[in-house]
Symmetry: C5
Subunit: 308 residues, 5 copies
């Protein structure tokens, strides 16, 4: 397809990257139903690792099968499909070249009690390359006492990924002893999470939809002094987008726990209105029956298309 | 031998692997009494390291000798023989090419009290290659506070093994501060253990036979809501097989402590009925007199053959 | 431009360095409004990472944009612009060759509570090279229980940077369990911080303006015995300059929190009078409206020019 | 010299090793007064490091000199001389090619109080090669909470040593929080220590002479059930030899603290009667006057020769 | 200059080293006022790092300047000058080839409170090579709970240094939880420190002058039983020299805190009488006015010359 102006604009922000990385970013931008719009809907499936198989797949048992998710992401017209090593390896050959893949390089499970949140690195840039992926994915937990371990892991993986022409997607989910439970989705914290991911060199940043709450006292003073609006979801999303290098980094939002279709579409409208680049929807997609999931994803895409 | 349809089907699930790995998987599938059936009985002997020599070999003193186990596995028609570095090195030359070997790359002993369960890495991919092995074996303890160490060790070993054409077998045995003693064999935990091993990129997964108990409250809700059956061993095994990528990863079950022949065969029937790909039997094999052990292993193989 | 005598003198102190390093030092010396004077004003922008986006950029929202800072540093006539990976990568291509760049290789944030202060390494020498930077920057916290980690990180980065022709800038900010809050800017501690950075092999050292306070009892005895003057800021700066190899290492001073223009210029006069090589001014620059910031930076440069 | 049948038999157990390793094992077997018998007496001198110089060498001050020990081992007809880096380096050139050398690669001292016993790695395989050694030596402390560190160090050193044609000697001395003081020489523990060293890939295993005591309750049950004899030293040595792969690994015994000549010879007779491959005698050799030491070592060799 | 017999004798003890190392040892032996005597006086200046700039250099402010120390060491006729990276780098080019240099590769400061004494590694063998040094220097703290870290660092640095033809100088200063404050200079401890450094492969060992005190109860028994004399400094030095491989390793003694000229010369006479190979004098040299320092150093050299 021809490059749209918006696609060119976005790529222009990544001018320091090598051609390999830009090629993979262009593939992400130009794939699926939102191709060329500069909007993104990505299917992530790491819940089997993160929450366990029954909690993830029992609602829609077809989803136990790794092939299911490739097909779902392709048929729904997602920009990309993201998953851990095992899930991607299981289908990468059969679905080679049909959708951009993001190899999720670290994962956690709910079986162990960790002193401070810290995922294990479970895949490698070499794996991403041999499986034909276009990007690596990595979760950081700002706020964790193990912050440095994660930042330094992604530093090395990012350097290696970029040298090999892969894009870098960072899931930036604050948690740990440094912040309260409510603070994990506070607007100052979500925006800070976006900034950290951007400064670490992410091409694509994933944060949670921010709530109308400010965690850090020093930030609160600034929000008040400069009257930064936080009442509505679009307000708060706008602050996060601004915090992602004034909108010069792709920032998308996760859906979180399974919700009703109406709740999801309402939230997505708010995200789109605030200037979000898109959504990454896991459980809300694959835990629905296939036809329903495709319908929902297409409705989400329609909202983003309209906002483009 | 000619490739059976089932062998082709199984290999097809590993389509993303290189030819070297597929060759070694084919050797595992096509060796011994169960060759071509897609069922597996493997002899593992790491108890000398894990429990000490007398506890392991005094019941059948011939088993102190490393050659004994090679011969037993060959004569009983096992698909493969798995052991730590020392035991394999002691016989690998004399028995070269007579049975697929799995080098167990980490081990624990009962002499030290560790804060959280964590085996030591005691062998290397290079060792596996120089000894003519077809696969590496590795134990993870999901639930341990040292989980990340193990997941990251197997990440590196798996990457290296696959690059060199070796298959990867993961023993996934939940234990540690994150779960109760009873929870170690809970059905939700065993299935989760299978999922984790699969996501980590294992070709073959070994778990314990699951009991009719659910450890995690969040999982319990899901089991109840979706009426996942757990009453019979076949029910529970079925859930584990499903959790191993909907049966698209080879999942076998361990025998555990020495038991009577009838108990073993009953259990194996339950495993086979639930769709298990096979069994891995250590103490129940080598602690019996040789003739008895061969008879038992052949009875086990007969059950699996029938279920194939 | 022709080499001034002062530029030659300064370069002469770095005679052991290779030509690549000397070239990049010469670029630092010979760029901007202070070119050739041997004085330096550098724009550092790592507050987005260190304090969060709103606290850093809400006072002047244009500063959310990474391009803003490149342009500000260029237009104000700074010697160099220093920032973390993300911020530099975002503009390095567009502003290539227009101002010397310093890639800040480690960063901290305010979300986590660390037992002892320790930044994460967030960039690499390879990044500095591929982005066309002339120097790396690194923060050490003498006084922290994690001191050795930082000293050993900068040891390796310095070795690698120098081998590749990059200059090394060390931010030496004492803090941690070893010293009191007030002691962080004590004159003995600031001077010690300068000495440590110099001994670690820094080409350029950044410390805080020292206060009239002595932290260490053993140092206090020496200051008294040898009547080292500490009353005025020039006195104290002179001691720091002396502690930077008798003025044979470039030592510059940070501005700290946002202040009034008069306060800043007063402080800079004191720094210049004490023999400081210059200032590094972040928040006091980019949190002002652009025109005001440029005016302020030029006033600061004028003071240093006069003192040259 | 011609290869004896026994030498061939022993080498045959190491058939998986490369020719380089087998050559060095053959040199160990075929050197000194016991050449070709398959029995071994080795002189180890690491007490200077482990206990301090005065405690080690004051009883016979000639022994402060590194050359003394080379000459003693040569003149007494030992199979090999083992020592840390400094001691070997001091004489390796002068005594080049006159006796097989074993470079002890880790050491401890009595000055520091360690939470759990763990030696420092103090030499490298490269050192062993450049000094003309035929083997590396390494101490493990099964029972220590730092067990994994040691097992993983020897894993790497063993891999590297074998690749370069060096033999591997493991000192397996259980101690640490996992076992009682008395348990350090319990027969079950010594045998377990032998098994662990063998499984880790040692060519030669050194344990302490076992006492008539069983440490582990689970082992006690097995010793009783299978009536494993432990009354006499030969009984207990036999169990250790059996635990070293049914006698297919060279297992030798240390002498421990300085004792009277009669006590030593009595003990050696017991070791020989139990099938020990030999002794490793440090303090009992070099703390005696040279003539006495040689006489004692020759008496020990005579006992082993008789038992061969 | 022609090789003296003593120089040849000393080099003969290092026969296992490669020609590069022997060349650098020969340079150390054959430089300065004591050239060829086999005695050594070395100027070390790491106090700027270790104690801070004012405490080190305020007594003689010329010493803030790195060039000062090169010139002092040259003019006084020292065998070598030792300092950390920054100080050497600052003058290495200007003073190239005029005196052997020892790059001190680890350093501590007084700002942080460390749980157990452990210096940071602050330089590299590559640095030593690119700066034209002939040796590396490294401090170990036997008695520290971090002992293993230090021993393993120097193991790697020593291996690398020797491979590149550099000599190795170990400062062996016992301290930490394992020994009492008084014990740090106990005669048994100083001798043990010398032994450890020698076993670690040091070519030159630096210890503190031992006091008439025995720290370790087990050593005390041996000193008494064998009547090792410890009353006079020469007695104690003799024991240390003996503990340095019977005098076959170069062992020199530090001067410690600043003292009067008479006290220093008295101590040096004692050291020389006990067979010390020389002294390493920092504060007592550079904290005196230059002329006085040179006079003192020459007086020290005269004492050693007489004892040669």
């Amino acid at each position: 397809m021809a490059m749209t102006d918006r696609a060119k604009e976005i790529l222009h922000w990544y001018a320091s990257d090598n051609v390999g990385v830009k090629t993979n970013l262009a593939r992400l931008i130009n794939h699926g139903a939102l191709a060329g719009t500069g909007k993104f809907v990505i299917l992530p499936v790491d819940q089997g690792f993160e929450h366990g198989p029954a909690r993830s797949f029992a609602p829609n048992p077809d989803a136990y099968d790794p092939d299911y998710h490739f097909q779902l992401a392709i048929d729904a017209g997602c920009n990309a499909y993201a998953a851990p090593l095992g899930f991607l390896e299981a289908g990468a050959d059969r679905f080679a070249g049909r959708i951009p893949l993001i190899l999720k390089l670290n994962n956690s499970d709910t079986l162990a009690k960790m002193a401070q949140p810290l995922s294990a690195v479970t895949g490698s840039v070499e794996d991403a390359l041999r499986l034909g992926c276009g990007a690596i994915g990595f979760t950081i937990y700002p706020g964790s006492g193990e912050r440095n371990v994660m930042y330094e892991e992604i530093r090395e993986l990012t350097l290696e990924a970029k040298a090999h022409g892969l894009a870098v997607v960072i899931w930036s989910y604050p948690r740990g002893a440094g912040i309260s439970k409510e603070g994990e989705t506070a607007v100052d914290v979500c925006a800070y999470a976006a900034q950290i991911a951007a400064q670490l060199g992410a091409h694509v940043i994933k944060v949670k939809p921010p709530k109308d709450f400010i965690e850090q006292p020093e930030a609160k003073k600034v929000f008040e002094k400069h009257a930064i609006p936080t009442k509505t979801l679009p307000d708060r999303v706008r602050h996060c987008v601004q915090s992602a290098f004034n909108g010069k980094r792709i920032i998308i939002f996760s859906g979180g726990e399974a919700k009703s279709t109406d709740e999801i579409l309402d939230e997505v409208k708010g995200l789109a209105a605030g200037g979000a680049f898109g959504s990454i929807m896991g459980r809300n997609s694959f835990q629905r029956p296939r036809a329903e999931a495709i319908k929902l994803l297409q409705a989400v895409m329609a909202i983003y298309k309209q906002s483009a």
